[in-house]
């Protein structure tokens, strides 16, 4: 055995129900290196690392640490082996200080009293270049400070192998640079660092080697110095798969939406949608591509009046029947009650698009319950619509009153999409419309979207599967870090091109 290896994974398999999150994955993590674990969403990066951290236990396969086979049953086992993981969601106590969080859960008798601990932490900080105020309460910290604290906590517990899950997702470029310097110091000190990421430029900047996973499978490992963005993208997204999805060309096009300089700042003061400008036309499907969290959700919600837009943002809606409207500044209710036919299939189907405990009829009523005179609800029309949706989309439900949350994922989505189409929209926006659905239902949804396009509806399709985006869309808008990073023709674009635009912000912007 190569005694330069800190960790060896051999034929690791892990399934969740019918889904194989990791299928026969084998690779090594060496000492003195920064290894980047690269892959798209759902490629199994986090799952495989969680097995090292003791969060999951593998169904099959072996793990070796320092050449010895080990069994990591819980996070404590992982700590004892010197493995520490910094998760995407920090696990800190808000009302405690940094120092208190570091020693939390450790035996005070083993040199962990606050005075000794402070000295030890200061040693760690000066050794690797951390800057932290040990007496600061966690609730006063920003994300970057919390992350620093998590890393120190892990080092204090004696970790030699550090795993960081998407550490830069929440950081500014300056904070990222600082973090990278620290990671380099740790590597030079002999530690192993694994960084889970899907950002190519960072991979190239920080790592020594790159291991690529795709759809749960191990694709390969390359030395960073011997590779380039193009090769990595190809390994990450894979060969183009030809999908049998129709794509008609509609000659007649009218402008439906004109989005200009749309900017949304979230509660953490981050620009999640950054100066986005594009037009949307009837009779087309505009695909929106991007790593998840690049602002897709917020973009659609902002158009629907569900996000606060910054000064200067503009969304002009060209209606067929109701003239031209500026949507920014209107509430969702006004957008609905003006009879503006914007339909929206949100990502969170049961948490935003539907009411889980209600049946189909009541859900069909969701956006139109105000219709009809008087204080009482009018059930007759929603009932007819629900019956129609159930028949036309073959929704499998015991009755129209059966709570939709008990339906299968595919049927839930049919109810949601069915309702939105039933309102005869002129703009139909969908977010991850086929996520978690089986092949047949997915195709049913593609067909529905194509039908709408033929009817002259302007369709927005936010997707994650590039093959589908390339097969379905007339145009593809690529988002990266909340910015528009490219607008491609869906018929001529290729996968690598889109993949590069997703992961690599064009220079100068």
């Amino acid at each position: 055995m190569d005694n330069n290896c800190a960790i060896q994974l051999k034929n690791i398999t892990k399934s969740f129900g019918a889904v194989k999150a990791n299928d026969n994955v084998s690779f090594d993590v060496r000492k003195h290196e920064i290894l980047a674990l690269l892959g798209e969403n759902g490629s199994g990066k986090t799952t495989v690392m969680n097995m090292l951290a003791g969060i999951y236990y593998p169904d099959e396969g072996e793990i070796f640490v320092d050449g010895k086979q080990v069994s990591i049953k819980d996070p404590k086992d992982a700590f004892d082996l010197g493995i520490g993981m910094i998760h995407q969601h920090y696990k800190l106590i808000d009302v405690f200080t940094a120092l208190e969080n570091i020693v939390l859960g450790l035996d005070p008798k083993e040199n962990n009293d606050l005075v000794t601990a402070r000295n030890r932490v200061n040693d760690i900080c000066s050794r690797y270049g951390f800057e932290i105020d040990l007496d600061m309460k966690v609730y006063d910290m920003n994300v970057s400070q919390k992350q620093t604290l998590e890393i120190i906590k892990v080092l204090y517990r004696g970790a030699d192998i550090l795993i960081l899950d998407e550490p830069t997702a929440v950081l500014t470029p300056q904070e990222t640079e600082k973090l990278f310097n620290i990671l380099r110091n740790m590597r030079n000190d002999g530690k192993s660092v694994v960084i889970i990421t899907h950002k190519l430029n960072e991979v190239l900047e920080i790592s020594d080697r790159v291991t690529i996973l795709r759809k749960g499978q191990y694709i390969g490992t390359v030395n960073t110095s011997e590779t380039n963005e193009k090769e990595l993208t190809e390994m990450m997204v894979g060969e183009k798969i030809t999908l049998d999805i129709n794509r008609d060309f509609i000659e007649e096009k009218h402008k439906r939406l004109e989005v200009k300089n749309l900017t949304v700042i979230n509660s953490e003061n981050k620009k999640v949608v950054d100066n986005v400008t594009f037009d949307l036309y009837s009779g087309e499907i505009l695909g929106i591509a991007g790593i998840s969290g690049s602002g897709q959700k917020e973009l659609l919600e902002a158009i629907m009046g569900l996000q606060k837009c910054e000064e200067g943002s503009s969304v002009v809606y060209y209606s067929t029947a109701h003239g031209v409207h500026e949507l920014v500044g209107l509430s969702t209710r006004e957008i609905i009650s003006f009879g503006l036919h914007l339909a929206f299939v949100p990502e969170d189907r049961l948490g935003m698009g539907l009411v889980g405990n209600m049946g189909m009829t009541d859900n069909v009523m969701l956006k139109r319950y105000r219709k009809g005179a008087g204080p009482f609800l009018h059930h007759a029309q929603p009932l007819r619509m629900a019956t129609k949706i159930r028949e036309e989309l073959e929704v499998d439900t015991p009755s129209l009153d059966y709570p939709v949350r008990r339906l299968s994922g595919g049927n839930v989505q049919k109810v949601l999409v069915g309702r939105e189409i039933n309102n005869k929209p002129t703009v139909l926006m969908t977010a991850y419309a086929v996520r978690g659905l089986d092949i047949n239902t997915s195709y049913a949804i593609y067909n529905l979207l194509n039908e709408q396009k033929k009817r002259g509806v302007a369709v927005v399709y936010v997707g994650e599967d590039l093959d589908v985006l390339l097969a379905l869309s007339d145009r593809i808008l690529v988002l990266c870090n909340g910015k528009v990073n490219g607008l491609l023709d869906g018929r001529s674009a290729n996968k690598e091109e889109v993949g590069l635009l997703m992961t690599n912000l064009k220079g100068g912007e």
């Binding site: 236990y57 629907m304 569900l306 509430s331 969702t332 209710r333 006004e334 957008i335 609905i336 009650s337 929206f344 949100p346 969170d348 049961l350 948490g351 935003m352 698009g353 539907l354 009411v355 889980g356 405990n357 209600m358 009541d362 009523m365 969701l366 956006k367 319950y369 105000r370 204080p375 009482f376 609800l377 008990r406």
Partner: protein
């Protein structure tokens, strides 16, 4: 590495038939009676059957007792119904005590200051309106802070109870003429602001008001646009915003209603039952009503059954205590066992227990 199934597992079972649910309830009530019988026999050496019949006597032995049982059932029901709109919205209003006290205080104040100045019928109408307004104010404050600043409504409404209690204490001292720390019966001779007897019955109006309010709340929540907004907001605020519902407005409006209904319970108590005001006017019913509302799964019509059951158990407990010379705590234990078993039966209507050997896979 083989994942062994645990010996006993709990599995969700959501689609039990109506008949099954009833059967489970019946089994648990029988179980409760058996456990109580064992308890009675082991502690007191009494015959459980005679104890049970004594309980029954407490609630039903004379027409007057029956009326009192009905009256108390209505009072408890009216508070539970008052909580329902808020609970449907998943707004945990634990402030029914305070809302009821403030409503009752408003009624008492009007009886004292307006009792001999305006006709009794007009006075009753005004008391009805202003008690509702007083309760609504008590409901508005926590709702406003929840809607604007997302404060915790459970704590806020709970604290408002204590504010209500202190205000009542203050006015009891103001109105107390005999230095006995009690207001005494208000308008004892003129009966101004008292519920009138109808057909020779004292409590008909209590029943009537509560029946009408219960039906109104049932219809409001199930058949109106407002009720729909409450249900959607309670399920998911994101969905509510998505469908264009003004969430803060719905929160405030619904709590105004909930507070007003609890305030009316105070009005019924003061004008229709005790004709006085003290911190005992609410008597913990604001909390008992939470149990009623939950057991009935927030269905106002089912609440009738559970309000009655709880009042019946209380009356029974008092009766056993006096008949067999037990202290009241012993009989409250019996009531507790029954309630506990009913709660346990709720678990079995939603879940089932699976033993390992039953697993086929």
């Amino acid at each position: 590495m083989a994942n062994k199934q645990p010996l006993i597992r709990i599995r969700k079972k959501e689609d039990r038939s109506f008949l099954e649910k009833i059967l489970i309830k019946v089994i648990f009530i029988i179980l409760a009676l058996v456990i109580s019988a064992l308890f009675i026999n082991s502690v007191t050496k009494l015959n459980p059957l005679s104890v049970y019949s004594s309980m029954f006597k407490g609630a039903f032995s004379t027409p007057r007792r029956i009326w009192i049982t009905v009256r108390d059932t209505c009072l408890l029901l009216s508070i539970a119904v008052g909580l329902t709109p808020a609970f449907r919205m998943k707004f945990w209003n634990t402030g029914a005590e305070g809302q009821m006290l403030i409503g009752g205080l408003m009624s008492a104040a009007m009886m004292i200051y307006l009792g001999d100045k305006i006709p009794s019928a007009l006075l009753l109408v005004l008391m009805f309106v202003f008690s509702a307004i007083a309760g609504a104010v008590w409901g508005f404050l926590p709702a406003f802070f929840k809607a604007k600043y997302n404060t915790n409504e459970t704590l806020f409404t709970l604290m408002m109870n204590y504010v209500g209690i202190q205000i009542v204490e203050f006015f009891v001292d103001v109105w107390d003429k005999k230095q006995s720390h009690s207001v005494g019966i208000i308008n004892g001779t003129s009966h101004a602001g008292w519920f009138p007897s109808i057909f020779g019955q004292q409590y008909i109006l209590n029943v009537l008001i509560v029946v009408l309010l219960t039906a109104a709340v049932f219809i409001y929540l199930r058949y109106t646009k407002h009720g729909y907004e409450v249900a959607v907001t309670g399920e998911s605020e994101s969905t509510a915003r998505y469908s264009g519902i003004n969430v803060p407005k719905v929160i405030i409006r619904t709590m105004l209603l909930s507070g007003a209904l609890c305030g009316l319970a105070g009005f019924t108590e003061v004008a229709g039952i005790s004709h006085t005001i003290s911190v005992e006017t609410s008597g913990g019913r604001g909390f008992t009503a939470i149990i009623v509302a939950w057991l009935a799964k927030l269905n106002p019509l089912v609440m009738v059954i559970y309000s009655f059951l709880i009042v019946f158990l209380n009356k029974g407990a008092v009766q056993i205590a006096s008949d067999f010379n037990l202290n009241e705590y012993a009989s409250n234990i019996i009531a507790g066992i029954l309630l506990f078993c009913i709660l346990a039966s709720e678990f079995y209507t939603g879940y089932e227990i699976v033993f390992r050997h039953k697993e086929e896979q």
